[in-house]
Structure formats: structure tokens, C-alpha cells
Amino acid sequence: MKKRAIISFSLLLIILVATLVLAVGGGGGGDPDTNSNPEEIQATTITQIADCEAPTMLRERVRCRITARASTSSIEESCRVLSSEKRTACIALQNRASPCYDETASDKALCLRRNAGLGAGQLNRFAAEDRREYAALLMYELQERIEKKHEQGQLTDDESAQLITSLIEIKQSLLKGEPIADVRVKMTSFKQAYLEAMSQ
């Protein structure tokens, strides 16, 4: 009787522990990419911007989208200069990070950092590639501010198109791995134009 009780109790214990292990282990799983098929994302993005795909110049495509008040799809624009494999990863990253832009100002950086594979605190201890991606994600925050100002009628189509084009070019430089010295030159020029336009 005693032996039987001990065996039953042991079985119960094993079931309980197994359940707990599965519950804990299962909670953290899941590839962030699995709910966003890159091919579908690309197809959707291309469909959204189909009408503005004709112009060969980046600025004209951006202007077209701004004028049409369609999605400016800079995600696609900044990733399209990359190789096929990197482009897919780039689109997935930027789509994954997109909810971060709705976070509060205090949570936004941490959310974007997390998506770029970075942590809190000082950034110089993280991998250069992840930091480039994070910098590119930060640029989209500025793009949203430009689009908001444009929607409020405080920036013209041309001004907005010029700023967003410059911004996309900086993102492309970052993601292509161009020298940071070149990125800084572009950024200095962009910052000056941006602050001037936004102070209107």
C-alpha cells in the first residue's frame, strides 16, 4: 500500500514538474519573424506603392507618395538597395520595429534597441551592424515627424519629399555599410535642413 502511494505520488510530481517546465519554456519561444512572412510583407508593400513605382528617381517616388498621401514605404526604399537576403531581413526588422513608434517617448528607444538586438545603457559595447540598424530605425522616427508636419500643412510636398529622400539615403548608407564618416556628412546636412524646416 505504502509503495503504491509513493509511486502514485511520484508520478503526480513528475507530471506537475513537466507541466511547469513546458509552461515556462514555451512562454519565451517564438521567432519574431514567424508571424510576418517577408514575401508577404514585400508583396503588400509593393502593392501599396504600385502607383508611385514608375519614377526612376527616389525623390520623385517619395514625392508621389507624399502627394497621394499614401504610405511613403521608406521601409521598402531603404532596404531595396540591399542584396536579396539582406533585404528580406531588413524589411522584417523594420516591420517588427514598427509598433515601437507608437510607444511613449520614454519607452521608444528601448523598444527600438531591443528590435535591433541592442540592450540598455551605453551603445558602444554592441555590434556595429546592430548599431547601424538601430540608427536606421531612429531615422524613421524623424520621418514620422516630417509626415505629421506635412499633414498639418506646415510643410509643402516638395519640402517633405526632399527631407524624406535625404533621410532614406542616410538609412541606405547605414544599411549598406558605407563608412560612418560619409553617413555623418549626410547627417549634418540633413539635420540642418530638418531643424530649419521643422522650426517653421
Binding site: A5, L110, A120, L123, R125, R131, L138, I180, V183, L195
Partner: protein, 66 residues
């Protein structure tokens, strides 16, 4: 069943539960703590309220990258 057996089994269960709780807690805080390796910086990232803050964060991100 002997009382001592029950006590041992209960202790084992409590130890297992404690271990699981600790592992779970460690996973949740790993982003803030283990990735930084610096408790002072744990969970900290600047707010992106003003344009200047965004530019500063951008600058921090690319500083030291070649």
C-alpha cells in the same frame, strides 16, 4: 506513507518550484541586466521626446562604428 517521506517530497517540490521561478525571472530580466553587464545602466535608454534627443541617440549609435 511515512511522515518523513512526505516532508522530503514537499521539500523537493518546493526546491523545483523555486528553481523554475528563478529561471523564469532570470529570463525576463536578462535583456535589462545581463546584456548590459552594468547594473547602473540596467533598463535605461534615453527618451525620444525632442528632435535633439533623437539626433543625440543617433550620434551615440554610430559613435565608434567605422
Amino acid at each position: 506513507m511515512k511522515k518523513s517521506t512526505i516532508v522530503i517530497v514537499v521539500i523537493i517540490i518546493l526546491l523545483l518550484l523555486g528553481g523554475l521561478w528563478y529561471m523564469n525571472r532570470n529570463t525576463e530580466t536578462s535583456f535589462n541586466e545581463s546584456s548590459s553587464g552594468n547594473a547602473e545602466n540596467a533598463g535605461q535608454a534615453p527618451a525620444l521626446e525632442t528632435d535633439e534627443q533623437v539626433f543625440n541617440e543617433f550620434d551615440s549609435a554610430i559613435t565608434g562604428v567605422e
